[in-house]
Amino acid sequence: MAYTTSQPQPGGFLSRLGYRGNARSKKTAVAAEEMKRVQFTSPVLPYLFLFPQLAVIFIFFYWPSVQAVSSSFYLEDPFGFGSTFVGLSNYTDVIFSSEYQSIALFTAVFTVLVTFLSLSLGLLLAVKADRVIRGASTYKTLLIAVYAIATPVSGLIGMMIFDQHVGPFVKMMSYFGWHMQVGLNYYDTAFAMTVVAVWKQIPYNFIFFLSGLQNVPVSVREAAMIDCRSGFRRFWTVILPLLAPTAFFLLTINVTYALFDTFGIIDVMVKDKPANNPVTLVYKVYADGFRGNDIGGSSAQSVILMIVVFVLTIFQFRFIERRVHYN
């Protein structure tokens, strides 16, 4: 669900206002900070407690990750007769292929659209839900309910809504002269995928924005109310800055969601016919590795994605953690 390091935390009021304190020294002393004053000392016990978690992580995380990196430098025979070292040629093959470039472009556009739309709609609904009193809990339940629907299920439902024969949305659009052909027309499919991906992610953003809003102290709201009569300006200058930690956290989560978690939606909606349909980079890693049996190429793509994730994480640490102080 979450690959990032920080959760937005209700924290103190000062931290919400951007109080930085000793943010820098804190970062370097993550381990020291978590120490309790009173601790047990034992030569064996801590390792015993850690062993199961570490064993699982080494076998199922580090081993495959190292394998991905190493096999990206080899050309593997599709019939399993050994492999040859080819240096960086898997990488150059991938990067210079026009198919990969167009998929990368689609992934970028898709990620930006999904992130922007689901964040802004989630925020809009949270702001409204924070205001109403009558029916507040009903709205909240309705808006949260679909959070837990799995991506392939939402893909399946989306596929039906956008189905050429029975889909209500397609019928409605044909009155306006738009004859959608999801699965056949590249842009129609891209549109449908984006709608489904946004639909699935709104509740998540809603939950976090709403809890962020409800953590804004009443005293601040009242002070803002006195200082500033325009509701929009009050939101823009007082409430939104206070939501910044939540928003930045959600930004990373939504980008990782659009990049990786949408796999289920895409896999269901392209129905095993990726040829003329938009797919994302993760789908291509899977398709090349599993269907195409191109282990080297697929691994090189994996490593490229790993680098993307690293860059995202560093971005989060350097620019976001510095500006926004948690805890």
Binding site: T5, K36, Y47, S211, D261
Partner: protein, 280 residues
């Protein structure tokens, strides 16, 4: 104070409709017959085929080899969800306990070793993970379905945060009373973590139940298919059929989303608490 405007309600109603309508349509449509849906499109009205469709989906043997029923898929999904949630809680509580409550030389290193797993989602290392699993002979097994998913730090972080917020006096008092590390863990820490455990169990169950890519790769033997995996295969059967079984596909979708949606709605407050307040 702020006075609620009509437009606030309008936005919320539209938002709720946008989010919930597809689910309602899916459920209502699943109560019609395939031919009916083919002729009249998706439906918002209750059909008369509810029992027949669901009975067929749950009990009729389907798939390519014909030995998997919907009920079996529900069971496999439950095994995956519960097994994953339980495994996650046990492993991550133990690891977090060691990191927070013990002074030992490798503490920082262990922390970073676990921390790094947050950087690389499973989707990115999917091919080599598959190879590792086939080397270990774990394809088509519950162990292979559940254990590799435990290799991430999310749970450990939740518990680490929680343990850090536990008052120091508790341990001091326990030590004065002569409690050792095991006794403190089992008799004090686990009981006071009950709410946290419940919240994490819910989140992890939903996460496990909803897994798609991993079960899809790990299981070729249909008796291990989960509901998510079943959705994939019902779509593969579709290609080329005259009147696709829309009703059955929707029924399967409803079965697949019912438990997670019910859990989120029923345990709403725990769920939100677990998600947003990892340090409480």
């Amino acid at each position: 104070m702020y006075r609620t405007k009509f437009s606030d309600h309008l936005v919320l109603i539209l938002g709720s409709l946008f989010l919930c309508m597809p689910v309602v349509v899916a459920f209502m449509t699943s109560t019609h017959t395939a031919a009916d849906i083919h002729m009249n499109g998706l439906s918002l009205a209750w059909g008369d085929n509810f029992i027949a469709t669901y009975e067929k989906v749950l009990t009729q043997k389907g798939g390519f080899t014909g030995d998997i029923t919907g009920a079996r898929m529900v069971m496999n999904s439950l095994i995956l969800g519960i097994g994953f949630a339980a495994g996650k809680i046990v492993l991550s509580m133990m690891a977090a306990y060691a990191i927070v409550y013990f002074r030992f030389p490798m503490a920082t290193l262990s922390f970073w070793v676990i921390f790094t797993t947050l950087l690389l989602p499973l989707e990115v290392r999917i091919m080599p993970s598959y190879e590792v699993m086939s080397n270990l002979g774990l394809l088509n097994s519950y162990t292979g379905l559940i254990v590799p998913l435990l290799a991430s730090a999310t749970g450990t972080f939740y518990f680490r945060q929680f343990f850090k917020s536990v008052p120091e006096e508790l341990l001091e008092a326990a030590r004065i009373d002569g409690a050792g590390p095991f006794k403190f863990f089992i008799d004090i820490l686990v009981p006071i973590s009950r709410t946290m455990i419940a919240a994490i169990f819910i989140i992890m169950f939903v996460y496990g139940w909803n897994q798609y890519l991993w079960p899809m790769m790990m299981t070729t033997d249909e008796s291990f298919f989960t509901l998510m995996r079943g959705i994939k295969s019902i779509l593969q059967v579709w290609v080329g059929s005259n009147i696709p079984d829309y009703n059955e596909a929707f029924a399967l979708a409803v079965l697949a989303m019912l438990p997670p949606v019910a859990i989120v709605v029923i345990f709403q407050s725990w769920f939100i608490k677990g998600l947003t307040e990892s340090d409480k």
